[in-house]
């Protein structure tokens, strides 16, 4: 044994340790965490978020789901989706005959070197066809996205992270999720993993796994369906961290990471939440 080589060996070990922390490993470790915290709940049930872990809240929610507030959004979204652009083309020109494509989003676009979320793809389709982009957070874009989510119901997330560039984007999202921020010095995992299920004011926090399956979401507070980036902004500002721009590179990476943590799960959007 050449002791002079020890630091190099140590470094190699550390690096290999990091290399092991790939998306698949993260995903399995997270599943293990929730199985330990909620041994009686099947992983697949986490698609209902906080309503999977709180029976009383679930009861109220199921009553709401009898006449879901997002239904109008789906109808309006369908109409928008099927209205041709001024150039005669339509969303189907971009997405194909089946609007139920959400199971493959976000995806990493190698040419752009960026994460493409479903909302980005919808607006890109508009721009490519001479239409203006729609506002990101609530409104028509979220309605179109709601219709596409509805058409994707029953499918399972099939998110791919296959190249070094895609992995790098994933890591940006992962680092964001585990970094403390804001004056209150919280990280996402503090509320949604370490203290998952605990009451915070009138709310109970949901597990990370399953958080991506049901977007867009209708909330009474928003009086509309909103995209997941609206929720990111809210979770940022509640710890006094300045929210980022919707669909900024970092939020896109965050959605990429978060959706991969729901990979393989059933899509059940749009959803309703308090």
């Amino acid at each position: 044994m050449n002791w002079k080589k020890l630091p190099a060996l140590f470094l190699a070990l550390m690096l290999s340790g990091q290399a092991q922390s790939d998306p698949e490993t993260d995903y399995l470790a997270l599943q293990k965490l929730y199985q330990q915290k909620f041994p009686d709940i099947e992983l697949a049930e986490f698609k209902d978020g906080v309503y999977a872990i709180d029976a009383k809240m679930r009861e109220q929610w199921l009553e709401m789901e009898d006449f879901p507030a997002y239904e109008i959004a789906i109808d309006e979204g369908e109409e928008l989706y099927n209205t041709p652009f001024a150039n005669g083309k339509s969303y189907a020109t971009c997405f194909g005959d089946d609007p139920g494509v959400k199971s493959g989003y976000p995806r990493f676009d190698e040419d752009l070197g960026k994460v493409v979320t479903l909302e980005v793809a919808i607006n890109q389709c508009r721009l490519d066809n001479g239409e203006q982009a729609l506002p990101w957070l609530i409104g028509d874009l979220a309605r179109i996205s709601s219709y596409m989510a509805f058409a994707s119901r029953g499918k399972h997330f099939d998110i791919k992270i296959e190249t070094p560039a895609a992995r790098a984007a994933y890591n940006v999202g992962k680092q964001f999720y585990y970094s403390r921020r804001g004056q209150l010095n919280f990280n996402c995992s503090g509320c949604h993993q370490l203290n998952v299920g605990q009451m915070l004011r009138a709310e109970r926090t949901s597990p990370t796994v399953g958080q991506a399956t049901h977007w867009p979401v209708y909330r009474g507070k928003w009086e509309d369906v909103g995209t997941i980036h609206k929720r990111f902004q809210e979770c940022n500002s509640q710890v006094r961290s300045l929210p980022l721009e919707p669909q900024s590179d970092v939020y896109r990476s965050l959605e990429y990471f978060l959706t991969f943590m729901s990979n393989g799960m059933e899509l059940n959007g749009p959803g309703s939440r308090r």
């Binding site: 993260d26 470790a29 970094s179 804001g182 004056q183 961290s241 300045l242």
Partner: protein
Amino acid sequence: MKYLLIICLIVFGQLAIAAENTAAEATDFAVLIAQAEEKFAESKTVGHAWTVTADRLGDARKASAAGDMKLAKANAKEAIKLAELSIQQAQVETKLWQQRVPK
């Protein structure tokens, strides 16, 4: 007559000092707010800006517009302090975040 002259001189003197103070306070504030803006921008660049920093910056500008330079400066100083803390948070977190990833 002599007394009146002396009083006049004193009053003018006071006024001059007051004017100078206001001017000095305005320059102080300009320096502070520029510094606060710079730190805030830096905290954004490192991805850890805080809402409260933006709030104090807004308060500082509002107070300055209303002519309350003392309050304006206090808010600008607070904004600098908050921005510095958030930059510190960014530095610490580049190392600590990995420890929180479930294994």
